[in-house]
């Protein structure tokens, strides 16, 4: 495909993600930090986010499975997840975390379970979207970014969302 077309697709897709609220300004800040000397920065941060979130979600599931639910620990985990999702700009995950924390304060175990399901859902959604955008673990699927680079173009930056 032509580089321009690819770049336009990339922009459109990112735009879409922004519009739908999956990502916010923080993500574009990260994109801005990336430069020629660190071309993998965003990818690294995102992978780190995936790892970290999956670990946290696991911990949360285990914690909620217990007989005596330790709400303090759950709150701590959710807080961490909130922090990392806001650092990366995963807006919807962050918002769900905020709601989760409120429910946690009420010490409502059922509510927490529901929130956990929601967070997991949001996380999976944003994960697939990000994987489509950036390089992906699954080798046979080329992301838009890879295609652009392969075609010899530069990854376009979004300027409207700062």
């Amino acid at each position: 495909m032509e580089v321009d077309q690819l770049q336009r697709n990339f922009l459109e897709y990112t735009n879409l993600l922004f519009r739908e609220g999956f990502l916010d300004g923080q993500f574009s800040q990260l994109q801005l930090l990336q430069d020629e000397s660190n071309p993998d920065f965003v990818f690294e941060v995102v992978s780190l986010f995936f790892e970290d979130s999956e670990r946290l979600l696991n911990d949360l599931t285990i914690a909620l499975d217990q007989q005596n639910v330790d709400f303090k620990k759950i709150d701590a985990h959710v807080h961490q997840l909130k922090g990392s999702s806001s650092s990366i700009g995963a807006q919807r995950v962050k918002n769900t975390c905020i709601a989760f924390r409120d429910v946690c304060l009420e010490q409502n175990a059922e509510g927490c379970l529901r929130c956990l399901q929601q967070v997991k859902q949001e996380y999976l959604l944003v994960k697939t979207k990000l994987e489509a955008l950036l390089r992906v673990r699954v080798p046979h699927l080329f992301s838009l970014e890879q295609q652009i680079v392969a075609a010899g173009g530069a990854i376009p930056m979004l300027n409207d969302f700062c």
């Binding site: 923080q26 800040q29 920065f41 780190l48 970290d52 701590a76 909130k82 922090g83 990392s84 650092s87």
Partner: protein
Amino acid sequence: MSGKIFISKVQNEYKLMIAHNTNQQLLVSGIHNNIRLAFVLLILMIGATVITMCSFVCFIVLAAKREMYLCGALINQMEATQQSERKSMNKSLAFASASHDIRASLAGITGLTEICCHQVTKKEPLRSELMLTNLQQMEACTRDLLGILNSILDTSKIEAGKMQLEEVEFDIEQLLEDVVDLYHPVGMKKGVDVILDPHDGSVMKSTCVKGDRGKLKQILSNLLSNAVKFTSEGHVTVRACARKPRSLRNASNRNNSISCLFCWLFKNESAYSESEVVSSNSQRDMSRRTEYVFEVNDTGKGIPKEKQKSVFENYVQVKETAVGQEGTGLGLGIVQSLVRLMGGEIGIVDKEIGERGTCFRFNVFFSTCEPVSTNDIEANNNGDYISEPIIRIHTIPKTERSQVLLFIQSAERSKVVQNFMQRLGIKVHVVKQHEQLSAALKKIKRKLSLSHHSSSGKSDGNSRSDERASSTRSKEVPLSSLDGVDDILPSPSQKKPNARLFGLVLIVIDTRAGPFRDISRAVAEFRRDLNDNCYSRVVWLDKPDTSNSNFHGLGEDKLPPSDLVISKPFHGSRLYRIIALLPEFGGTQPTRGENVENVQPRNVGSLKTSTSYVASKKSGVNGKSYMYQKSEIEEVGGPNNKKPLTGKKILVADDDPIGRKIATFVASQLGANIFHCENGEEAWKLVCKSLEDGTNIDCILMDCEMPVMDGIEATSRIREAEEIYGVHTPIIALTAHYMGEDIDKMIEAGVDAYLTKPLNKEFFLKAISELTIMRYMIEMLTH
């Protein structure tokens, strides 16, 4: 014969009898006379008494009449007074209702301006800068209008004795700068320069106070407007200094002497101790209050000695100087009342013989407070910025010190800036005419090349030993930074002087001071063939209100990128920022070898609007919040500096791995060495270890919420540990919130600044440079 005797006897008897009768008669007549006399006297007495009584009665009657008359008059007068009071009451009521309407309209305008602001930022966030500034200025104008309206009402309040002082926290330095900048254009139109003299810098240390900002602004505005009004040539200087209240000591001395007297008189020991306690109590109350002395000096017509007392009376104007000038004459009366209300006094200072003009001096008392200022990230910048003090970071050997060349049109401003810089220990050359400019520049160049030739042999020998030495030292400074050009932010703890760090030659040129072509030619000649190790930077002072695109037809692309153009008057925060460019005060060196023609100017340099916060405790650094206003100082072209934080050791404490990674990345992009840890306890341990080793950490980024030990406790523990060593590491708190009690607690624990997560490169850089600069300036000015 016997008849004769008989007759003679009878005759004798008759004679006797007659004699007896006459005696008797005489007696009787005598008595009669006496009686008559007595009678007369009696009558006289009675008459006199009667007359006296009558006259008394008359007097009393007269007095009573007068009294009745006076009473009547008094009653009339009282009625008249009451009537006039009622009249004035009605007047003020009328004012109040009228002002209510005016205020409503003003509120409408303010509200609509705010709505415009919001809409503008929403629709076109990128291209709205100019519009936003205009709107904000409109908002400022409406606010001022409101203030004026209030002050009109205040006059009547003062006269009724009902004026009260507000208590808000504000920054005196900023207020001074605002007021002086406000009157600067008016002055410039008349050819009068309005200068803010930093004097001894004492206000900078205690610039955050609690008091009535509006009234102080009123006082200063009034004095300044008078000064500008009555001056047709020359300058108007505003000076301020702060000191501990001295009068208090006198008062307490007086108290003590009186109590001594009493105790001697009454031989009562307790009286002495009582008065002592009283005086010490009042001392304690006043100990938090500092005395600020302000001076407004002008070179105008002056006020003749006889009129000096009367100018402070309401409605009195010195007539012969008010030719063609308006004014209600209310100003100075209000000013005096306000100053007195704030506990001070205002007066006219006698000038030296031969100097013309007037100098008003007044002092007020404010209590200083801890400076904490927050600005919402989401709110647009409201143009508030507070000047920062300047600190000397690094002492450089004398031959390689930075030099400043001043070529300013206004002689007084030149003198003020020169004095201030010399106070800070900077070498200053002053050029008064444009013909002397090229000669002065040549002299500097010659001196520099001489000193370099003499020290270059030295430095070559040193550099190798430095390299070896640094490699055995801690991993603070990577070897690569010693090669080539040095432009690192000097670290405060460097014990070995960096032999390669040369001073900056800063040239401040007023573009109006001479024919621009000659000036630019002289500067270009200076820059040509400048020694490799000397750096020079030119600061162009342009006329205010001219846009940069018309920079004397030269175009921004022709000027090297490290030059600065300042279009606002050169004092206050602009002056401090320029001084901060010098390496001794934390400035970074500009890069060399830029091909002048090919550089594209960046629209607004790195001094963009920042929303970083700087907050600190009184015992730590006296920091202020800093928001740069756009287009105030524009860097011509972007500075292509090397990494500004090269060699700095930064500790990142954050439990969130992503936050850590981002902070690490940002800081390492800026060239720093990063260490990280996951919670407060590790951070504390690392800091303690580094204190023991003697390898100081340059900055700590502390997340607020962490497991095991959170940021707040870690900070307080670190501060405790630091006290033992007498160090103060700048700690920047990272928080996800932008207000709330977390931040307050962090500030209490002793952080120097806080930034919001996630870490933004520019804000971080700015915060660090501000912190380093601030710390050393205070040291400089206090020693």
